[in-house]
């Protein structure tokens, strides 16, 4: 996560707050909440669709952040990336929990418009956007839908109407192309 001075300031504030959590300072958790909870709910809703499940994922994320703050290593990555990785894992746990029924009509949304909609929200200058746009539509869709909506290999195969093996091969090839394009 790079970008404006504002982004850099937020990153520094989140990193400092995680360090304070690691030292046992609970007020630092509220700092993270004030800075990021709104976007965290947005990201969780994008994956889980339901407000109650999104809030559950965010609540769980704060628990894990408090508990695992000491394991955050600023040498290895950005604080906000760490925070959103924890959130993503919480949301995926809920999504992949076979005991849950995540009812919604949106998951039936067509692959192509869902993918283009997600890409359209990326900045014009985004290297990720430019490199994804160079891929064939279906190969672009598997990567975008896996990330943005948390779809599994099986769900991608169902949505695109192709065998599981085809989806797996598309994902790998797309990632190799993306890697080369983004450097």
């Amino acid at each position: 996560m790079t970008g404006s001075a504002q982004d850099n300031a937020t990153e520094a504030q989140v990193a400092a707050a995680i360090a304070r959590c690691a030292a046992g300072d609970r007020t630092a958790l509220r700092v993270i909440y004030d800075l990021e909870a709104g976007r965290m709910i947005g990201v969780a809703r994008r994956m889980l669709r339901r407000q109650d499940l999104a809030e559950e994922a965010v609540q769980e994320t704060f628990m894990r952040v408090w508990r695992a703050a000491r394991s955050f290593d600023p040498q290895k990555g950005a604080a906000r990336t760490w925070l959103y990785t924890v959130l993503r894992n919480c949301a995926l746990s809920i999504l992949r929990d076979e005991g849950r029924f995540i009812a919604d009509d949106d998951r039936a949304e067509e692959a192509a418009p869902a993918t283009e909609n997600a890409l359209a929200h990326l900045p014009e200058a985004s290297a990720l956007r430019r490199c994804l746009e160079r891929l064939d539509a279906e190969r672009r869709a598997v990567v975008v839908l896996a990330y943005v909506h948390g779809l599994s290999h099986g769900e991608l195969a169902g949505k695109l109407g192709v065998p599981l093996g085809t989806v797996k091969s598309w994902v790998r090839r797309s990632l190799i192309s993306l890697q080369e394009c983004m450097g």
Partner: protein
């Protein structure tokens, strides 16, 4: 890193790996700094999607719920692939039956040691690997709980033994202790609800600093259920 390694790191970052493939990637993430860098790079790339997602209102109500959870946050964890195991009642019943029998046998033997120590345990859990007893947990009326190893446990370099319990299926497994070798260990059950009969305990093999996710990630070495002490 080959292009395939980099793609694997990307699949992991996307959350597409499941089962053994995911477990293998997690082990590699912990052991291979080059692979960890690739995963981190993919996360940073895809984070653009998160930055581009519109924030939603985050009110005080959600914050109050988070705050209300904090007293147990120190040892709390959430739903995971493990919930499938914990939710599997049949597996739990079989384990409970085996452990109860073993607990009966062991509780008689332990009675002598405990009398000698003038401490009356309230509940005992014998943790088994198949039919072999690996450790015993006993809890006392004053809230203390201790794990005693009954056998040598091989702990590889860079790994540790983590002790878990399952206060309820809704809540999921909770870490109650970590040790780098089999030894007598005081368990932190204080922030948990009162121990129930049949409450599950288990020991898993985790990274030296404990599970990175706050839930069991490594293989289960021993498990068993709490029973009333004789």
């Amino acid at each position: 890193m080959t292009p395939d390694d980099k793609a694997l790191a990307g699949e992991y970052a996307l959350g597409l790996l499941e089962g053994e493939a995911k477990a293998m990637a997690e082990r590699r993430l912990a052991a291979d700094p080059g692979f960890a860098r690739e995963v981190e790079q993919w996360r940073a790339r895809f984070a653009e999607f998160d930055d581009a997602t519109a924030p939603q209102p985050a009110g005080d109500e959600l914050w109050r719920r988070i705050e209300a959870d904090m007293p147990r946050a120190a040892v709390a964890i959430g739903p995971s692939a493990w919930t499938r195991f914990w939710n599997n009642l049949a597996a739990l019943r079989v384990t409970a039956l085996g452990a109860s029998l073993a607990a009966l046998v062991l509780a008689v033997g332990l009675g002598f040691a405990i009398k000698a120590a003038r401490q009356q345990p309230v509940m005992i859990a014998v943790l088994l690997d198949g039919n072999r007893a690996g450790a015993v947990v006993h809890t006392f009326a004053d809230g203390r709980a201790v794990l005693l190893p009954l056998t040598a446990i091989n702990v590889p370099e860079g790994k540790a033994l983590e002790v878990w319990t399952l206060p309820s299926r809704e809540r999921g497994p909770v870490s109650v202790g970590l040790m780098n070798q089999a030894r007598t260990l005081r368990l932190s059950l204080k922030d948990l609800p009162a121990l129930r009969t049949d409450q599950l305990f288990e020991i898993t093999l985790e990274p030296a600093t404990g599970s990175p996710t706050g839930r069991p990630t490594g293989p289960v070495l021993f498990k068993g259920n709490a029973a009333l002490a004789l």
